[in-house]
Amino acid sequence: MCNNDINDGIIIGVHGTIVDFRFRKNIPELHEALILKNVIENKKIVFETVFTLNNLEVRTIAMGSTNGLRRGMKVTRTFSPIKVPVGEETLGRMFNTLGEPIDLLENTNFTKKKSIYRLAPSFVELKTKPEILETGIKIIDLMSPFLKGGKIGILGGAGIGKTVLVRELIRNIALIHKGHSVFAGVGERTREGTDLWMEMKKSDVIDKTVLVFGQMNEPPGNRMKVVFTALTMAEYFRDEKHEDVLLFIDNIFRFAQAGSEVSSLLGRMPSAVGYQPNLAKDIGDLQERITSTRNGSITSVQAIYIPADDYTDPVPVTIFSHLDAILTLDRSIMEQGRYPAIDPLTSTSRLLNPNIIGMEHYNVAMSVKKILQRYKDLQNIIAILGINELSNNDKCTVFRARKIQQFLTQPMFVAETYSGFKGKYVKIQDTIKGFKEIIEGKYDYVPEQSFYMIGSIDEAIKENE
């Protein structure tokens, strides 16, 4: 080794995004960041230590392209893990995995920085009493209430209103709960990140949000660690500012996928379906940090891709075990112009329990589900024989179900320019009252169109008067 600095190392092997280094004396610690300055391209590449090969050699994951690397190149130790900016300075900004701003704005010096690795809050710090996070969106608050500090999975393909829903949640959390949101784009299309950035600017929620992206054009190391970057930023608002923070992860499956890509290159024996053998630990380490403490909470909304629609795939199975609620977005609902396109029959929540949400809320939610399920069954008959073939009770169920379906729609503040409807925030009490009265038949005389794209039930009555 021709290196004089005792803390510098040299490249001894490059296997795609995995790079091996040899050090003279002290090898770096686990998760320590190493920096290689590529003089030719005038770029720096960060590596993260994953494990030691022997007393002098370590194996690392590159957080950037390894093109042009060769044996003998020099790397410098940083004596700390990757640190990313946190605090108010990050609001309204867009970062990459390493915490570097990628929005081409002027301020690039951030005073507060934190390591992306930390332990999950201990048991004594956790808040044990479950509490509902009011979103102001009727269908969510009624059918799939969010747990403060909980994890919510969103199932559904691209282009069915996921982004609008996310932006509305960010807006409502910011204005009603005075909280901030962090968005992590993991392994999805780069275009989606740009679209989100532009749309957030338009709907004036960008200054309440931090955006972090490690999209599909980036190496697996970046895609894997971007979630931790976003989580670190969210944790600051929870622990230091005592806020209720929303953390959006789009898409959590890509995190596990990136992990499996890295795992094979690291030389680990693959487990079932080619995933990393420590899949449960990887996901567990991340999910355990997303929780509600005595100071504040991080509520996480995670989009989940189901590979080949196989719900028994190890990744969805592992993720589902951590979730508190599931929202299913349905394309057929969107095609009928019913927004948000959440399927009330397949969406559920751990909070749908009379001991947590109260008997009234529980009964109303279950009755809505029952009526909609019956309507779904009756649709086959209506399609074949027509509605006149139904018994009077079934006819009544159909009419009420259609009103419920319309009342489940809601105009969004962030979509006012597209929909032409003024956004509405509905409190949980008003939501429950509205659905309860529809089920009881109090509004059987009101035409179903009056329930479309409104906030509370009073609007339907006013319109009818």
Partner: protein, 268 residues
């Protein structure tokens, strides 16, 4: 390992079968619910008429007494379409036990009509239809029955149909409607003999319409049950196949990955 595409196609096919059977089951159930009330009211009326006829003073007059001809007029009521469980088989068993080759047969329903026509003396064959037959369709039936019986061409008029007990039980049933079995204790004393003729007309109409209603509701009940079973089995098999499909998919990927790993280990 099964062919994944083949499995996927099978799953899709089974799901379609389940969907279709569910729709058919629900249609049948709705029809049953709709006519259940009619049946209840009708049965009460029918029993009352029969009771009056059995216990009146003119019923023993020669016109309505049994004759010695060994021929019967039999109305057989079968469904037009399939998917209604064992109804047809049970009916055929009953028919074979009861009918003679020289008996006159009037057949309702298309199901197994060819077989019955080949074996028995079918004088008329009619469609049953997909909805509940209207009341006026019994007039020609009654006319033929009265004509054959009063002209002494036959000794009995019989209905063979499926009797509805409840949604799970329907039995093939033979009902002899003429001659009327007399109860010796007369309770009703009619002043004119003609009143009895009118009553007989009513009685035959109601008996025949009752058989049609029973056949119809039994068909719907049997269809609902058989479609429910089809749906349940299709979904069960589809669920099993879906598990096999997922397992095969995962096995395939795991095998490929293991092959790569083994190759790498051997080359190192």
């Amino acid at each position: 390992m099964k062919n994944l595409n083949e499995l996927k196609n099978k799953i899709e096919m089974l799901n379609n079968v389940a969907k279709l059977s569910k729709a058919t089951e629900m249609i049948a159930m709705t029809r049953i619910l709709k006519i259940k009330k009619i049946v209840k009211n009708f049965l009460f009326y029918k029993d009352k008429i029969r009771y009056i006829l059995q216990k009146n003073n003119y019923i023993n007059c020669c016109k309505y007494t049994p004759n010695k001809i060994h021929r019967k007029l039999v109305y057989i009521i079968l469904p037009d379409t399939g998917f209604c469980g064992n109804i047809v088989i049970n009916m055929l068993k009953k028919i074979d036990l009861y009918l003679n080759e020289q008996d006159y047969v009037i057949l309702f329903g298309k199901k197994c009509s060819k077989e019955i026509k080949m074996k028995y003396n079918v004088i008329s064959s009619l469609k049953f239809g997909k909805t509940l037959p209207k009341y006026n369709c019994v007039y020609p039936m009654v006319k033929v029955a009265k004509m054959f019986f009063f002209m002494k061409k036959i000794s009995k008029v019989t209905l063979i149909y499926t009797k509805f007990s409840n949604i799970t039980i329907q039995k093939a049933y033979i009902e002899e409607i003429l001659p009327i079995k007399n109860n010796k204790t007369n309770k009703y004393f009619l002043q004119q003999k003609e009143t009895l003729d009118d009553l007989i007309q009513y009685y035959l109409e109601i008996e025949m319409y009752n058989s049609l209603i029973n056949a119809y509701i039994s068909e719907q009940a049997a269809r609902a049950i058989s479609m429910y079973n089809t749906k349940t089995h299709a979904l069960e098999v589809s669920k099993k196949l879906y598990k096999i499909y997922n397992k095969s998919r995962q096995e395939k990927i795991t095998d490929e990955i293991l092959d790569f790993t083994n190759w790498k280990l051997n080359n190192n």
